[in-house]
Structure formats: structure tokens, C-alpha cells
Symmetry: C2
Subunit: 245 residues, 2 copies
């Protein structure tokens, strides 16, 4: 049985404020939790309807009804774990990094973290307006990738101002990414907000504006979703490391 | 004021069965509805909190409260329109087509329709197990692109069996899509179910297995989301039509 107090404490972790205060976050579902347990993350407690058989004092067997009381999911998935929020490592600018400027949708951030993992991007840099990566919806959408990407929340404008590497950004009037030959395997790729794109202050710091050309002929298609655009750009950047050696 | 009967009829359109019976579907939000009004789609009725000033007998001014009663969205967006479901055109196999095998998530289907529009893919072919493209969540996610892609629901296995074009499918053990040189600008690109990938019966008909290589070094990343994988493959196919002429 879970106490009222335990339920209250876990429910609070929906909010960033409380996650920051207690330095923990929630992950749900057997598959995600198993991935996280295999990483360097420190487990604080596991609440589960099927024992994982880990250290006993870290694991509590609970009923489906209790899981419903603490789960953030519409359909709870057998287990919920509380992990310590890990310390971020310093950013390594000798490799291609992705930077996010006010990405607000948890699903988009989760997909982008998964893409960074897939394409071997070690560092994801988020401005303070980007949704928190320990938001339960983000953790869920990363499918475990969150443990393999180094994420820092910083003052993005000040950071880009201080560094001396190419800064790429996607703009409708940029150079065609497929034929543009200045792509390097280091630098920062900035992706902007879902509705407004890259902010004016960051746009002023972009050194290379690139565009994904539209092939659809008839009419102006709504611009691509930020996660989709990130996948196309990372694919194109990384492809060149294979084929242009 | 909306009558109880009107509210009931619109609410029924959440289900495919009722959409098929009455041959209409629902679109919401000013932007999406305006895009649809500019297309060849036939408007049946518009319920709106701000007049569009179209033909009077097709438009009803309603209150926010009434909009809430008929909207499928958590946060209704000023207008809801009922359009006639258009007839699909025959499939044109002289161009690259995308085929979906049991794609179940409305957000994924919506994103894939938007990608087809962006990359100039005229035909999207869905097997009967793929979520209905006139599902309100799909319509919403396409951002108007649904009017610019020709979508057919067919017996995919029988269809592929009957045609004589390259059939591409994404598999972990396929040939590297970036370096594989047999990509043509015609054929069918098959994308599979979110959890299970391409079904065995369709896999047997694939003539070219391709893979998106993983660059992340450390551990097995969960496979890419189907919409993300589609964006990378379409980008790579279409890029070659630009650079390999």
C-alpha cells in the first residue's frame, strides 16, 4: 500500500519546480525503466506491479489501483520509477551539437533526444525556454535515449556569442542543404520554436542559414514540424561524414 | 444555437463507421479550415464563433459553449467544419509512392501525409489496418496537407503482388540508404507498424531492403519512430533527384 504522502510526493513531480527542488524525475513503463536501470542513473525508488528483483529496499510491490494513483499516463504500464536527475557534463564543441531555441512540445523534444542518440550527437543544448527534458512526457517519448545524450539548459544567446564554431539554422530563405557544400562535422545546429522558428536575437548569430527545399509543386505546404526537420538535417549532416571522406 | 440532434450527429463523426456512412469528416481550427476551403473539397457546413463570410446557408454562427459541445479538441479553436470525403484518384506508379502497413498512430499518419506533401509524393497507399486518414486527429496533424496527397486504402499485399516496380522497405539489416546506389525516383516505399514493423507477408514482397544506419556508438538505440524514418528516407530519395541528374 502506498501512503497518501507518497502519492502526493510523486504527483508533485509533474511540475518542474518540484523536480528541481527534490532533484528527481519520474519514468514509467517496464521497457523505459529497464533501459534507465542499465544506465548510470541513480534509482531512488521503484513502484511496480511485477517485481524486478533488484535491491529490496529500493523496490515496492504495489497494486494496479495504486499505480493508477501515481501514474502520469492515461494507461499506466506496470511500473513507475523515481530517479535522481543526473549532473550534465560540459559541452564538447569539437563535435556537431544540436541547440534548441524555445521548443515547447514535450513530444518534439523527446523525438529530438532520440534523434540525437541515433545520429551520435553527444550534446543537446537547450535555452531556458525549452520544455524541461525531465518532464514525464519527454522522458516517455525518448524511449530510454535520455540516458545517452548530454543535455544542458543554458543562456543560449550568451553561449553562442562566446564560441567560435559554425552556427547553422534552418530558414526558408537559407541555402539548399542538399547542395550546399560548406557542411562540416562540427558546429551547432539551432532549431527553433514550433510556431515562431528561431528567435530574432539567435538568428542574428547564425553563420550559415540552410533550407530544406520543398519538392511539392502545387501550393505552399505548411513548414515541416521541428522534429521532422531535425531528422532531415541530422541525416544530411551525418550522411556526409560517410560519403565524403 | 445548435440542436441536440446536430450535436449528436457531429459527435458521431469521431468514429470511422459513422464517417463512412455519411461520407463526411470534421476539420477544426481557422487555419486548417481556410486551407480546406481553398481546396477542391466540398464544404457541407461550417460552425464558427467568427463569421468567415462564405455562402450564408453553409455557415452558422455559434457560441464558444456550443463549439465545446461539438469539438473533438481539448481546447476548441474558433471553428469546426464538416466536409464531404473526396473520392480518391487512381494510383500513379510512374512516381515514387509511399505505402503504409498498419500504421496505427493518428499523429504519425498526419506527419507522414505532411511529409508526402512536402516531398512531392502524390500517392499515399494505406493497407486496411492503417488508421483512417479522416480521423479528426489525423486531419488536425496534417495542417491542410490532406487536400494535396492522394490517399487510397487498399489490400496492400494484393496490390504489391500485381505491380512491377521496385518495392523498398526499411529494415535493420537492409543496405545503407546513404551509399546504396540503386535508388530510383519511382517505386513504392513501404513503412511498417510502430511496434512490429513491416508484416511478414509484405516483407516477402520487398525487392530492396534498405537501412538508415545508426551513428550513435554506445548502445542499441530504440529504432526510429516511423514518421521520423519516413522523413529521412524521403529526404534521401528526393535529394538524389536534385544532385544526381
Amino acid at each position: 500500500m502506498l501512503s497518501k504522502n507518497q502519492i502526493k510526493l510523486i504527483n508533485k513531480l509533474k511540475l518542474k519546480k518540484h523536480r528541481t527542488e527534490s532533484n528527481v524525475f519520474v519514468a514509467e513503463g517496464i521497457k523505459t525503466i529497464k533501459e534507465l536501470l542499465e544506465s548510470n542513473l541513480k534509482l531512488k525508488h521503484l513502484y511496480t506491479t511485477e517485481l524486478f528483483n533488484i535491491e529490496t529496499d529500493l523496490e515496492t510491490l504495489i497494486s494496479e489501483a495504486d499505480l493508477k494513483r501515481i501514474s502520469f499516463l492515461t494507461t499506466p504500464n506496470k511500473a513507475l520509477a523515481v530517479f535522481e536527475i543526473p549532473k550534465s557534463n560540459p559541452i564538447d564543441l569539437t563535435q556537431m551539437c544540436v541547440a534548441l531555441d524555445d521548443v515547447r512540445d514535450p513530444g518534439n523534444l523527446g523525438t529530438i533526444i532520440r534523434l540525437c542518440d541515433w545520429f551520435g550527437v553527444r550534446d543537446l543544448i537547450c535555452n531556458k525556454g525549452t520544455v524541461d527534458c525531465f518532464n514525464p512526457k519527454v522522458v516517455q517519448a525518448t524511449m530510454g535515449s535520455i540516458t545517452r545524450v548530454n543535455i544542458n539548459y543554458i543562456d543560449l544567446e550568451a553561449f553562442i556569442n562566446d564560441v567560435n564554431v559554425p552556427v547553422y539554422g534552418a530558414f526558408m530563405d537559407g541555402k539548399n542543404v542538399y547542395t550546399h557544400n560548406a557542411l562540416l562535422n562540427s558546429g551547432i545546429l539551432v532549431m527553433g520554436n514550433e510556431a515562431n522558428g528561431v528567435s530574432n536575437s539567435i538568428e542574428a548569430l547564425i553563420t550559415e542559414k540552410i533550407a530544406i527545399p520543398r519538392f511539392g509543386a502545387l501550393r505552399a505546404t505548411e513548414s515541416l514540424n521541428v522534429a521532422t526537420a531535425t531528422s532531415i538535417l541530422l541525416s544530411e549532416f551525418k550522411r556526409r561524414t560517410l560519403t565524403e571522406k
